[in-house]
Symmetry: C2
Subunit: 321 residues, 2 copies
């Protein structure tokens, strides 16, 4: 019987491992999740991935001979050429030969990359990038993550750190402290966490308005709440959104001046605000980007959600396999 030439995509997170089998065109055959076993510094993970994939292939009347390879994304610093993990803090891997281990367990070629890079590749292939060869992917979540695709290639940089756009310095003087050790990083003002932080500052100083009322009533504020309140013309919320989007527009406008993307894809929790987000962001971007760049660049909300990582991992197999 002929081999099926399927692509396996795996997205290893701190809590769950997402897995998928896709056909060569990037359509899902199946997708599922298993819990991540981070015991023993994550050393059991390759075995678990191999048996999860093996069992699933068996249930599909197939075997490892039917997959062209396995793409794996993980959070951390990864040497893409060798599939060597320098460090993946949430998983426990440190100087871990992931590619080698997983190839030994499965007998098929393995390709690894940083999870944010693969999410960007997934959006390029099957999502909001829509095949664009020059793409900037910005994830506004707990932090601000990023992936840069130039002429169809994911950029890695000298030691796998390319795309760390959350640590662009947005507030050079007097900015809030960031986990990275610097102050005033983009993610201190434009991530979900940053927007909530700015909102809480308003709530504490004003003790009035829609955000204050909501926080008093529910005990919580999300970034989306702030966008909603701004749309209802709440002054504090409007100021917070202005500040967050001003810095985001400046940072990605400057990146676009240097990288000239076709499309900028915005994902992560904050992107749930969709058009409200893009409408608030676009004027700042247009002001700080070169006129021709502003004209040529389109914005899209990410489309693949949590599937971006496994689709990007499958793309990696398609590209390199």
């Amino acid at each position: 019987m002929e081999n099926k030439n399927w692509l396996a995509g795996v997205d290893v997170g701190g809590t769950t491992i997402k897995l998928a089998i896709l056909d060569e065109d990037g359509s899902f055959i199946t997708k599922w999740e298993v819990p991540t076993d981070i015991s023993d510094s994550g050393h059991h993970i390759p075995g678990h991935i191999a048996s999860a994939l093996g069992d699933k292939l068996y249930s599909l009347d197939a075997g490892f001979k039917d997959i062209k390879g396995i793409g794996v994304g993980a959070p951390g610093f990864i040497e893409a050429d060798t599939g060597f993990i320098y460090q993946a803090v949430n998983i426990g891997w440190r100087n871990y030969p992931l590619k080698e281990r997983l190839e030994k367990e499965t007998g098929v070629p393995v390709f690894a990359d940083n999870d944010a890079n693969l999410a960007a590749a997934g959006e390029m292939w099957k999502g909001a990038g829509d095949g664009a060869k020059n793409m900037l992917c910005v994830t506004l979540g707990t932090g601000v993550g990023g992936g840069i695709i130039s002429e169809g290639f994911v950029l890695h940089g000298a030691c796998g750190m390319a795309g760390e756009i959350g640590h662009i310095t947005s507030v050079p003087e007097g900015g809030a402290p960031c986990n990275c050790g610097k102050t005033g990083c983009l993610e201190t003002v434009s991530s979900a966490t940053g927007i909530v932080r700015l909102a809480m500052e308003k709530i504490e100083s004003n003790k009035a308005g829609a955000l204050y009322d909501q926080f008093e009533n529910t005990g919580m504020i999300t970034a989306k709440d702030v966008f909603d309140a701004a749309e209802k013309n709440d002054q504090s919320a409007k100021e917070v959104i202005h500040e967050a989007m001003y810095h985001l527009g400046l940072a990605i406008g400057n990146l676009a001046n240097s990288l000239n993307p076709n499309v900028i894809v915005i994902g992560g929790g904050v992107s749930k605000a969709e058009e409200k987000l893009l409408n608030a962001l676009r004027p700042h971007f247009d002001r700080f980007a070169l006129p021709k760049i502003a004209e040529e660049t389109t914005f899209q909300i990410a489309r693949l959600g949590n599937d971006a990582g496994v689709i990007g991992a499958a793309w990696l197999v398609k590209e390199k396999g």
Copy 2:
């Protein structure tokens, strides 16, 4: 007789065309210049390049069969894949099929790219980049130019505008007007022109100090003069250098956070200040770059001067030919 497999490099500027023939290892066989004939919208240029190369090859007992191809750099927006020039203002080309014309004149393969990109490639191959695969090249001259090399490839972006780092917005509010139509661009504060502009502001407002005296005596100030005066502890000069290097350090620190280069190469007229420049720049860069990026990135002064363009053009033939 065997073909020599030489590489021809051509750097078309508004005043002169620089030409060179190099061996496969990038050593010069010969280099020379001819004036640029920009009459008739630059339509005579391919013919002039062909005859200049043909004559030189003849004088070397060689012919077009001995060159693997011709690399050409020009200022403007160029589609690298097709060698089509959208626009090269100083030359007069507009929607000009340079590759096609020059191939017709010479009968050998032609490859074209933006001159700043090729200067970066030249420095990567034979200059300060010293073979680094991830390089950011910054040219501080009349404006601020740039070239980005990632994993050994020159980045072009969606419409050939990648690397336009001079138009990063450095002064978001109240900055000086820039030729591009925006205000506060990096090149308004950190180019040779920008440094002299800031110095002239000091001279006009203070009417005292080393810069004022020099301007009164000689009628001119260069960026290098400002670095020299700052080193001699002139307060105005120190403030100018601080401002210019603060904005440059912030802009390229942020770019380095996104691109993770091995090396940042500084060229152009301002780079004649050499160690004074790097010493003034480095603390700002280190402050705004991620700690690991600051640690891993080295700075170099460009080494090839005016030869960078023809060497990069020859590299293009080597890579693509």
